[in-house]
Amino acid sequence: MTALEIETLSHHFGGLTALSGVSLTVAPGERLAIIGPNGAGKTTLFNLVTGILRPSAGRIGLFGQDVTRLPTHRRAQLGLARTFQITTLFPRLTVLDSVLLAVQGLDPVRFTLHRRREAYGHLRERAESLLADWGLADRAAQVTRQLSYGEQRQVELVLALAGAPKVLLLDEPTAGLSPAETASVVEMIRRFSRDTTILLIEHDMDVALELVDRVAVLFQGRVLAEGSKDKIKGDREVAAIYLGTDDA
């Protein structure tokens, strides 16, 4: 049983082809890096997998279930989580409130309107333990937009973990971070349980190769190459597309 199965996925819009015939299989617990130059279609792939975009063709399977037509929130309920390249947090809410929302998202009480949320102690317990596990307990009462960028990226990760996801999509988790901040985020990701299957978009090749088992290279909307770290490192075509591009 594969964790994530992407079958000949394509996405066209307005005459442009963002993705064409992409097929990938990810086994449970695996770590796969998606790399490629800007515009290769990496974030589009994530948007298609999470349901933010509808594919023009192809199929997406999550643990054997066809989710191609399912809306985003239903896929989340099936165990799919994601972080965004541009930090997508709740600017005016505190860190604790944000994590509470993340925890509530998959909880059966999420639609209750006749009792105060405080009445459900288990939500707060889980939120606080999450923050403690990932070293953010002392930031709990801070308003999100007052955090440093590095801390915000960490909160973004915690939000994604709140639902104990089975498949986690990380979209450039270290983008814009200082070397020290990058190191903490890498540490964090390294500690993720092997029950979680991870797909990682990363611009920083060193970071990517440190964290994953396999690599898929996207170029102009197609899978150019796929395989183990070493295989990709030694691949000429892959090197060519990176030598020619400005890898910032």
């Binding site: 929130h73 997508t88 929302l101 639609f111 309107l113 009792r115 939000l159």
Partner: protein, 311 residues
């Protein structure tokens, strides 16, 4: 937290005691403030909590008022028929309009809610045989309840409205602090993040839309009893915009703020229109000034003052 409960309790005590010291005119003004307070709070649920800027909220207020008025005048002045009917119609209309409006966002949403509100206004204005057209429905009687006091008197009616107000604010406070209410806030802050976290965002917005319509309907019910009269003016954009102003002036997303904002606007409109012929001009200037200088509303100003003085 306990300061909130203390000040809330104090406010209730004051509201209960006020009829003793107020003239009948002042009491009727206070009654109006409470009714519009409910209306403003209903919009706050939609705007302040869910982040949906509606320019057509008067529709649900007005349609409830007309329903109660028409039933009381043409069928029977039976509170147990008319009052629930008003709420039901307000809920049904918001359930219908919500289906249209929630397919859009931002300026589109503003525009569509405006247009839908105007559709109802157009019906009320044009269907003279039913609604009396521009002349409206006069002489709507007060409800007859099995109580020892007649609601045609100012003081008993005030307590009736106060009771409804307290129930409304109690229910709304519960809703906004529930998991549902907290989810609305999340949707307001980042809809995309909420989707990805597993929330069926449309459903939350829709339920909020209908609830807001129901509470607006409650205010409409009370208003037509209070005023004895309803006209298309209570369905149109001017009235919807004044609800918006009440929410912004008081402080969106605070519930109490909009109630206070409503009181301020009612007081202002009364004072200004009594002394000035050009009160529409003044109202327009108020809209501009409030938007420019008090975007977080009165409650926002008070909070900033308090935090500055270290409280």
């Amino acid at each position: 937290m306990s300061t909130r409960i203390a000040s809330g309790a104090a406010a209730v005590v004051v509201l209960v005691a006020l009829p003793v010291v107020l003239s009948s005119y002042q009491l009727s003004l206070l009654t109006k403030m409470l009714i519009f307070g409910i209306f403003a709070m209903s919009l706050d649920l939609l705007l302040g909590y869910a982040g949906l800027p509606s320019l057509g909220h008067a529709a649900y207020f007005g349609v409830a008022a007309y329903t109660v008025g028409l039933l009381a005048l043409r069928i029977a002045n039976n509170f147990w028929l008319d009052f629930p009917a008003g709420l039901l119609v307000a809920g049904a209309v918001s359930a219908l309009f919500g289906l249209f409006a929630l397919r859009t966002r931002g300026s589109y949403f503003l525009m569509i809610t405006l247009a839908l509100g105007q559709v109802l206004w157009g019906i009320a204005f044009g269907w003279r045989s039913l609604t009396g057209g521009d002349d409206g429905l006069p002489s709507v009687p007060r409800p007859r309840l099995p109580l020892p006091w007649s609601l045609t008197e100012g003081v008993p009616f005030y307590y009736f409205v106060l009771a409804c107000f307290l129930v409304a604010i109690g229910l709304l406070a519960l809703i906004v602090s529930s998991p549902f209410g907290r989810a609305l806030v999340g949707i307001r802050e980042s809809e995309r993040r909420m989707e990805v976290l597993g929330y069926d965002v449309w459903r939350y917005k829709y339920v909020a839309f209908v609830l807001a319509g129901l509470f607006a309907g409650l205010a409409g019910n009370l208003f037509v009893y209070f005023n004895g009269f309803v006209s298309p003016a209570y369905l149109n954009i001017l009235f919807s915009a004044s609800a918006l102003l009440m929410v912004i002036l008081g402080g969106a997303g605070t519930l109490v703020g909009p109630a206070i904002g409503a009181a301020v606007i009612v007081a202002l409109e009364n004072v200004i229109s009594a002394y000035m012929e050009r009160w529409v001009l003044v109202l327009g200037v108020i809209y501009v000034l409030v938007t420019l200088f008090a975007p977080a509303g009165l409650v926002g100003l008070v909070r900033r003052r308090l935090s500055r003085s270290g409280a």
